[in-house]
């Protein structure tokens, strides 16, 4: 059978053949074709010669110790902590902050209800809260004269 250009595999197939990256059946097919096709055979030989040339590319080994050069630039690695089991003790760590948050919320809510004259208004309140009254204890205003209502 006369080989035609239409039968020729693409460069990609010849390249993969060179690398041994074809399936067994593809390898047999492409290799078989390259063996009898003058164009593909020549191309495949060129790839082989190219490989030989590339592998003779020289390289002068580094005469410096990269490890020593970069040693001071390596950030210390944080030691991985072993995974902690969930523990009830963890909740005790949060207790002080939790109590403080609850106290702040309660105080704020109480003051808010007082201002609004809500149900809390009828609840016995600490004596110290009297300083917030419109008429402080003793009818005296601790502040500036404008505190006193003007008599008409």
């Amino acid at each position: 059978m006369t080989q035609t250009m239409d039968d020729c595999p693409r460069m990609e197939a010849l390249s993969a053949l060179l690398d041994g990256e074809l399936s067994a059946s593809e390898d047999a097919e492409i290799a078989g074709h390259a063996a009898v096709c003058p164009v593909c055979g020549a191309a495949f030989r060129t790839l082989g010669e190219l490989r030989a040339s590339l592998r003779t590319l020289g390289h002068t080994p580094l005469n410096v110790d990269i490890a020593s050069l970069i040693e001071h630039r390596l950030a210390p690695r944080a030691h991985a902590r072993p995974a902690r089991r969930r523990s009830r003790l963890r909740w005790l760590d949060l207790a002080p902050a939790g109590l403080g948050a609850v106290g702040a919320l309660a105080t704020g809510a109480y003051l808010g209800l007082l201002l609004a004259g809500g149900p809390a208004a009828g609840v016995a309140r600490p004596a110290a809260m009297a300083v917030f009254d419109a008429a402080p204890p003793g009818g005296l205003c601790a502040g500036i004269p404008s505190c006193y209502p003007r008599r008409r």
Binding site: A16, T46, L54, L57, T60, L62, V64, A67, L74
Partner: protein, 184 residues
């Protein structure tokens, strides 16, 4: 040289845990390979030296993300490749120097004429590699110089194997043309 997984993993695991001595062993083992790859990617010896150090520093920082199922050298070349590509992107033009003139190799042949021809061929090959698009250059260097498989090149460059196959074919086609011209 292919390392066995248990050999490389033990040192990498220690380095990942913060053992600097273990990491120094890894650096010394791979520094020549990483440097020669980066050198041929960027074409400048001074820049390659800086980038090689940068790659190993990045590798140290990224070690906590390394998983034992990954080949260490493939993972390391991924970092080296990204480092080189980033440097190339920062450039406006590729600056290439005749690398082969810096090599001090023992002559393959005592014949001066043969030596000259060999030197000219290497110089032409270096020039041709430097002219390849960066992605093709990367693929051909990892395949032909570093001997990585298609799967390893795919992992190192972040593309699929089909793309690796295509890039290698195009790189070889371009280099083959240069090869023929040099021989002519």
């Amino acid at each position: 040289m292919r390392e066995t997984a248990p050999d490389q993993n033990a040192e990498v695991v220690r380095a990942r845990a913060g053992d600097r001595a273990a990491y120094a062993v890894l650096v010394r083992r791979y520094q020549d390979r990483v440097h020669r790859f980066i050198l041929r990617m960027v074409g400048s010896r001074d820049e390659a030296m800086d980038l090689t150090q940068e790659a190993f520093i990045k590798a140290w920082q990224a070690l906590p993300d390394w998983r034992p199922e990954a080949q260490f050298h493939t993972w390391l070349f991924r970092i080296a490749s990204n480092t080189a590509m980033d440097a190339l992107r920062r450039r406006r033009t590729v600056e290439w120097v005749a690398l082969e003139e810096q090599f001090d190799r023992a002559a393959d042949s005592p014949d001066p004429q043969a030596q000259l021809e060999s030197k000219q061929r290497l110089k032409a090959m270096d020039a041709a590699i430097a002219k390849l698009p960066a992605e093709q250059r990367e693929a051909i260097l990892l395949r032909e110089v570093e001997d990585l498989t298609y799967a390893e090149i795919a992992a190192a460059t972040g593309v699929n194997e089909g793309t690796v196959k295509s890039r290698l074919a195009r790189a070889r086609a371009a280099l083959s043309e240069q090869f023929k011209r040099t021989d002519a």
